[in-house]
Structure formats: structure tokens, C-alpha cells
């Protein structure tokens, strides 16, 4: 029983981070049809900025919002200065459908090496502000910590904020309209280019928060968030790639699955399982387990 609760809580905490990365990918994909491989690079640069804040001020609570803002600025800049001109210049020929993906791969390389030049390749530690030790209840030590609760709480807060913005505000309406039918949105007076940059900014912030949350569990290096990007993709695909709710649930589902596999079968499988899930979902239900047309509403 204790083992089951532990598996669920660890699954939720890891899954919450995958959800955030999946949200970042889905936000970009559904508004601009771009699979953004550079998201890992954008997130790692933002996390380094968060690390700088912690190093200078010792305050993780300050690092979290600053990294998110940095991530938002980077995201908006990538859309405004790279993706938008690209969609105009590379709109014809064989390159047109893949130009954006190739650009994000190139950008990922630039951000990786840029981070390595600025912050060197060595591993940096980003301490959690709360205990990362297992919680002790009575005589039992559980494998989940206060840090796990911090992760779950922060991710939940981010998701609720996003959900409020998307469903209840004019900005959210403009974001959805621009994603679903950009031409009709334009004809209704919505400044779609600006709204897209804001969508990329939200994505950048979500990726940055994922980076700052996941890093205390391991260490920070230029490539340290690449695996998170992959897990984010798996979660996004499980969720149907277009749904924000799907992305959130996909992340949680992946986190729980990995946690259960690790606990009951063996940790040696945790690296292969996400990829098997990815392939199975694509082959059996490519629209996503939670996806489908309806999911675009959320």
C-alpha cells in the first residue's frame, strides 16, 4: 500500500514536469504548426538564467519567475525574428513543409553550444528550496519528498493559470481563434502575428518552469533537458498534440507509467518505455489517446 502511494506521488511529480514540457510543445504546434525541437535549448538557457539568480541571491523562489519571464522573452523572440520571417521566405518548394522543423533543430544546436560557451560544460547544481529527502511518517521513510510536492503544486498552478487565461480572457480567445482559424481571426480584427508571439512566449515560460523544476533532481548542463524534451513529446503525442488538457493528462499518464514500471518491473526499463509508448500510440491511435477533433476546444 505504501509502495503504491509512493509510486503514484512520484509519478505525479515527474508527470507534472512532462506535462509542462508537453504544454510548451502543444502551444507552439497548435498555433503555428511547428514542432519545436529548440524548446529544450530555450528551456536550458532559461534554467541557466534561473541558476544565475539562485547563485547570486540564493533565492529559488525568485529564480522561478525570472526564468519563466526569460523563457517567455526567448520564445517570443524565436517566433518574431526566426519563425515568422521563415514562413514568408521558405513558403515554396521542397523545403517549405520541413523548413521550420529544420530551423528549430539548428536553433537547438545554437542554444546548446551558446550555453556551453557562456556557462561551460560542467554540471551545475540547482538546490531545491525545500527538502529533497524522503518524507518520514512515523518510522516509514517514503521515497517522495517536499520537492515533489513543490513540483506538483507549481505545475498545477501553471496549468490553472493557463486554463484561466485560455478559457476566460480575451487574450485566450484571441489565442484560440488564431490557432484554429488564423485567416478568420485576421478578418475579425485579431492581430494574429502578435498573438502567435504571445503563444510562443507562454510556451517558453512553461518550458523554463519545467527546466527549473526538474533540475534540482539531477544537474544542469547544456544538454541536461534533452531527455525532458523527448518525454514532453511523448506526453504531447499521447494527448493528441493539439490539446492543452491532453498534454497535461499525457504527461501525468507517462509519469505514472514510468513510476509503476520503475517500481514493479525495474528501472532498467524506464528509458525504453516512453519510446515504446510513443511508437504504439502513433501506430495504433495517431490522433492521441486523449486527442481527437473535440480536444481542440480546450
Amino acid at each position: 500500500m505504501d509502495q503504491l502511494i509512493s509510486a503514484i506521488l512520484i509519478g505525479l511529480s515527474q508527470g507534472a514536469i512532462y506535462s509542462l514540457m508537453a504544454l510548451a510543445l502543444v502551444l507552439v504546434f497548435r498555433s503555428t504548426r511547428v514542432i519545436n525541437f529548440a524548446q529544450a535549448g530555450q528551456a536550458v538557457v532559461s534554467t541557466y538564467i534561473g541558476w544565475e539568480v539562485v547563485t547570486r541571491t540564493g533565492n529559488y523562489w525568485l529564480a522561478l519567475p525570472i526564468a519563466a519571464i526569460a523563457g517567455a522573452i526567448v520564445g517570443a523572440a524565436v517566433e518574431s525574428f526566426l519563425m515568422r520571417p521563415l514562413s514568408k521566405r521558405a513558403s515554396k518548394g521542397a523545403i517549405a513543409p520541413v523548413a521550420s522543423v529544420i530551423l528549430t533543430l539548428g536553433l537547438l544546436g545554437v542554444l546548446h553550444s551558446g550555453a556551453a560557451i557562456i556557462w561551460k560544460g560542467d554540471q551545475k547544481l540547482l538546490e531545491s528550496p525545500v527538502s529533497a529527502m524522503g518524507i518520514t511518517v512515523g518510522e516509514t521513510v517514503y521515497p517522495f519528498s517536499q520537492t515533489d510536492f513543490l513540483i506538483i503544486g507549481t505545475a498545477l498552478l501553471v496549468m490553472l493559470t493557463f486554463s484561466f487565461i485560455f478559457q476566460k480572457t480575451n487574450l485566450g480567445l484571441a489565442l484560440r481563434a488564431s490557432a484554429f482559424q488564423p485567416e478568420i481571426a485576421r478578418l475579425s480584427g485579431v492581430r494574429v502575428d502578435r498573438i502567435r508571439a504571445i503563444g510562443w512566449a507562454f510556451a517558453g515560460a512553461a518550458g523554463a518552469i519545467a527546466g527549473v523544476l526538474v533540475t534540482p533532481g539531477s544537474a544542469l548542463s547544456p544538454n541536461s533537458l534533452d531527455l525532458l524534451l523527448v518525454f514532453g513529446f511523448v506526453a504531447a503525442v499521447i494527448g493528441g498534440l493539439e490539446s492543452l488538457i491532453g498534454a497535461a493528462l499525457g504527461g501525468i499518464l507517462l509519469g505514472l507509467t514510468l513510476s509503476f514500471v520503475g517500481l514493479y518491473i525495474g528501472t532498467s526499463l524506464t528509458f525504453v518505455v516512453p519510446f515504446v509508448i510513443l511508437i504504439l500510440v502513433l501506430l495504433i491511435k495517431p490522433s492521441g489517446l486523449i486527442g481527437g477533433r473535440k480536444s481542440r476546444n480546450a
Binding site: 480575451n170 480567445l173 484560440r176 481563434a177 478568420i184 485576421r186 478578418l187 475579425s188 485579431v190
Partner: protein
């Protein structure tokens, strides 16, 4: 020059000339029907006037100001509203959200509320379906929603692309009647692009007949309707 003035207007789709040196004038407050078969360049004309496509040569002005080189969203904010072909609504959004879209950028929120109330008054069926998603609406209701959304933006020049497309005859009559009432009530200038020549010309002040991108005839709608040669060749009745 008041109203909409199109002169020497040519638009190309790659190597194909979709519109060939077209010129016509719609005085402010008038309703113009642009009539032509499929492929005559009608839709391209509206897309070029609303900023979705750039013409190759020519001019288009509205109340003396050029429409060209501006983004569709900026033109919409200046009162040039294009309701694109058929059912220009966003199916993933609710009826309420579709209507709201026409006003989210407007400063005068009071007037947005007033305009929305007027639309619901005009189309009570939309009022009954406010929280439904737009893809549950019938074709006629979608057309009402598309026009309603444009009205929330307080248009001055309304560009309507085939409002009759895919609708039953009775619904078509209703929609055209509503458009006619609206433009008298609100003093709108309207350009309707239509294959359904009869319904459109009946409410129009002037008619513009196009064929394969070229102007065939331009004049008072009544005169065009009564011209036996035009009727036989282009109006189809």
C-alpha cells in the same frame, strides 16, 4: 472620392491572371452585387480588397484612402469587414465566442455590448445558442453568425463572399432581406459577391458582372436584370 473605387485592378495566381484590369465604383451607402460564375475572379477580388492577397497592379480606395498594402486585421479595425466564403465562423469556438471575436480589440466595450445585443435581436436563433459550439449550427445559422460577428466590429464597408452558398432557397431570401434591412438601417456600404444573380441583384443598387476575371457589364442593378443579352449569357434565368 467617396465610397469604394477600384481601378485598373489586376490580380495573379502565379502564372494565371485571376482578375484583369477591373474597374468599378460603389458610392458610399450603396449595395453592389458582383456576379459571375465559378472562376470569374469574384472571391479573389474580395480577398484582394480585404488585404488577404496583394494585387499585381491597380488601385483600390475606400473613402479616399488606399486599401492596398494593409493587413486584413488592420482593415477590419478600420471598418472594412470581409465575411469570407460560405460560413466564415470558427467551428471550435462557441457562438458567444465567435461574436466576441469581432469586438475584443475595440476600446468602446459599452458599444461592443450594444452591438452584440443588436445582433442577438436581429438573429434570435443565435441568442438561443450562445453557449453551443459553432459547428453545431446549420448553414443558415452559420451565415448569420458570420455576419453577426462582422456587425459587432461596427463595419462601414461590408464585403460578403457568397452568403447564399449551400443554403436552402427560403434561407437565402431571409439572409438577403436581412442584409438589405441592415444596410439601410446602419448606412453600410456592401459588396456582395454571388453566383446567385437573381437574389443579389434584386436588393442591389448596382451590379458588376464578371467573366474569367474581366468586367462584362457594370450598371444599375435593375438595368442589368432587364438586359436580355446579359440575362441569357451571364445571369442564368
Amino acid at each position: 472620392m467617396n465610397g469604394l473605387v477600384v481601378s485598373g485592378f489586376s490580380v495573379d495566381h502565379g502564372a494565371i491572371r485571376a482578375i484583369d484590369s477591373l474597374s468599378f465604383t460603389v458610392t458610399a451607402g450603396q449595395l453592389a452585387a458582383v456576379i459571375g460564375a465559378n472562376g470569374s475572379g469574384k472571391t479573389t477580388l474580395l480577398r484582394s480588397l480585404s488585404g488577404l492577397k496583394a494585387p499585381t497592379t491597380g488601385q483600390a480606395t475606400w473613402q479616399g484612402i488606399s486599401l492596398l498594402g494593409k493587413k486584413p486585421e488592420e482593415l477590419a479595425r478600420q471598418g472594412v469587414l470581409h465575411v469570407s466564403d460560405g460560413k466564415s465562423v470558427i467551428p471550435e469556438l462557441t457562438v458567444k465566442e465567435n461574436l466576441a471575436l469581432g469586438g475584443i480589440w475595440r476600446r468602446d466595450k459599452k458599444d461592443v455590448a450594444a452591438a452584440t445585443a443588436e445582433v442577438i435581436d436581429l438573429f434570435p436563433r443565435l441568442g438561443e445558442r450562445m453557449s453551443q459550439s459553432a459547428d453545431t449550427l446549420s448553414g443558415g445559422e452559420r451565415q448569420m453568425l458570420a455576419i453577426g460577428r462582422a456587425l459587432v466590429s461596427r463595419p462601414k464597408l461590408l464585403l460578403l463572399d457568397e452568403p447564399s452558398l449551400g443554403l436552402a432557397p427560403l434561407v437565402i431570401e431571409q439572409i438577403f432581406q436581412t442584409i438589405n434591412d441592415l444596410r439601410h438601417k446602419l448606412g453600410l456600404t456592401v459588396v456582395i459577391v454571388e453566383q446567385n444573380a437573381m437574389s443579389a441583384l434584386r436588393i442591389a443598387d448596382i451590379g458588376v458582372i464578371m467573366n474569367l476575371g474581366k468586367l462584362v457589364a457594370e450598371g444599375r442593378a435593375k438595368d442589368l436584370m432587364n438586359d436580355p443579352a446579359l440575362r441569357a449569357a451571364y445571369l442564368g434565368y
